[in-house]
């Protein structure tokens, strides 16, 4: 399994898609943080600082898309046949892709969080902003890393299940930007289990809202979603003709 995951990681590193999406995630988060710090003069309360630091979580959306693109990309380019010739066990083949995406998302997340911390913390100190307790700050940043990694894993499982990059990305965007807000408006208690609700819980961008799950529980629910999609992808990949 280690060889398989290493091979999947090598696939990331040897195409431009991964680097383009990783660079976009890092650049986008850095840009948001810099602009917020430069423009917003009222960034002084602890909650403002929490919101700024949780901006790192936005890269989770990009790693989610990265996972979908990578997972379904094997089918788009036809390289899935090579993968299954070397690893005919579908559980190992699908699982290897999911784990590799988790690790890829984790790596991007670490870079993003380091960037956010390097830019924001000295700048906030210079503004005399009220910082959250160190433990809370670390939780927000590490929660962002975890969210990005889990998002990439879920994206990979979904991409391998759906096999179509465009459809996969569109469905993910509709879920996050259409379905989740509707649920938030209509079913407040269900929203905390949506992708957005879980993402907010993990990245600490809850604005003090008590209607979000604790970080650990949110991560567990997200992992369960990923496990379910992975199981479905394994079953369908086993039964489909390639």
């Amino acid at each position: 399994m280690i060889n398989l995951v290493l091979a999947e990681l090598l696939k990331f590193r040897t195409t431009r898609t991964f680097w383009a999406l990783a660079g976009s995630a890092i650049g986008l988060v850095a840009l948001i943080v810099i602009l917020t710090l430069a423009i917003d003069d009222n960034l002084t309360s602890e909650q403002d600082v929490r919101n700024l630091l949780s901006t790192a979580g936005i890269y989770g959306l990009l790693t989610l898309i990265l996972g979908v693109v990578v997972g379904a990309g094997e089918y788009r380019h036809g390289t899935i046949a090579w993968t299954l010739l070397v690893t005919p066990n579908r559980l190992r083949a699908v699982g290897g892709g999911v784990i590799a995406c988790f690790l890829g998302g984790l790596a991007i997340g670490v870079v993003v969080v380091v960037c956010v911390a390097a830019i924001a913390l000295p700048w906030l100190a210079a503004k005399d902003a009220v910082m959250p307790p160190t433990g809370d700050t670390l939780q927000i940043l590490l929660g962002g890393v975890l969210y990005g990694a889990l998002a990439a894993a879920l994206g990979s499982a979904f991409g391998q299940l759906l096999r179509n990059q465009v459809a996969g990305v569109v469905i993910v965007l509709v879920l996050i930007f259409v379905v989740d807000p509707v649920i938030a408006g209509l079913l407040e208690n269900v929203w905390q289990f949506t992708l957005t609700g879980l993402g907010v819980a993990m990245t600490g961008g809850d604005n003090g809202d008590t209607n979000v799950l604790p970080l650990g529980v949110a991560a567990l629910v997200w992992a369960l979603y990923t496990a379910l999609l992975t199981a479905l992808a394994v079953i369908f990949t086993s039964r489909r003709d390639i």
């Binding site: 060889n3 398989l4 290493l6 091979a7 090598l10 696939k11 040897t14 195409t15 431009r16 898609t17 990309g73 380019h77 036809g78 390289t79 046949a81 090579w82 993968t83 299954l84 010739l85 070397v86 690893t87 005919p88 066990n89 579908r90 039964r239 003709d241 390639i242």
Partner: protein, 304 residues
Amino acid sequence: MVTGVLEVRDLTKRYGANLAVDGLSFKAEAGRVLGFLGPNGAGKTTTLRMLLGLTLPTSGDAVVDLLPYRMLSDPIRVVGAVLEGPQFHPGRTGRNHLRVLATAAGLPSTRVEEVLRLVELEGAGNKRVKAYSLGMRQRLSLAGALLGDPRALVLDEPANGLDPQGIRWLRDFLRAQAAAGRTVLVSSHVLAEMAQTVDEVVVISRGRLVAQGSLDELTAGAEAPVWVRSADPDRLMAVLGARDEVTAEPGETAGGWLAVRGASLEDVGTAALEAGVAVFELYRPRQSLESVFLELTSGTEAGR
């Protein structure tokens, strides 16, 4: 023990109302090149993909060393495969494509360089695949098949896109692989090329087996007469005509030719010796693989 013997037993694949493969059975043995022939749409690719675990059979078995491909613990060392129209990530280099496969299989990176050299792609290894010609992609595909130094090779139209030198290289390569004790199962529509490469052939049409045997058996033209040119055709005709189930009659061309039916080359030669008739020429015309193929498949294709 890994022998690389490939076998399909009563293999059937149905797509809705279409029966793509219908109760097909054959075996490819170690040390032989088995040609897998059939018209377009005959079910060759479907059969090979079932053998490789990429397509699920509706019924029957396709096994490697008695195991379905999906059950092989280390398949890259048992079977190397070239699929028809091999696909690659266009943005990945040929070398990196092979590195990915080698890493997944736990093979050293030195093996990647070896197979690149073997297929004569070492100079193009760092080019992205989108810059490869069809022939280069075919060679890269073959390099992927050879990575694990497998006991068997399953090749679906491997000559597609190769230039004449490449085709000759492939022929010599496949013969060498068989001579080294490997099993080689190769499908192709280039019949003249196959005739020079294979030891045995399996011919299918509309998913069904229509002929199987050694190339010699199929092209021997068992129904064709033995032609003999001798010093005394009348005497030889009388001697042969006296034998049970043997008929001999003068050929249409002049020069003492006889057309003998119901006898082998050995029978005619022995009869001539016993009759004291000098023989100048003796042969049975062989059919080309192409004519045998067209003859075998014309009946089944007519109903399409």
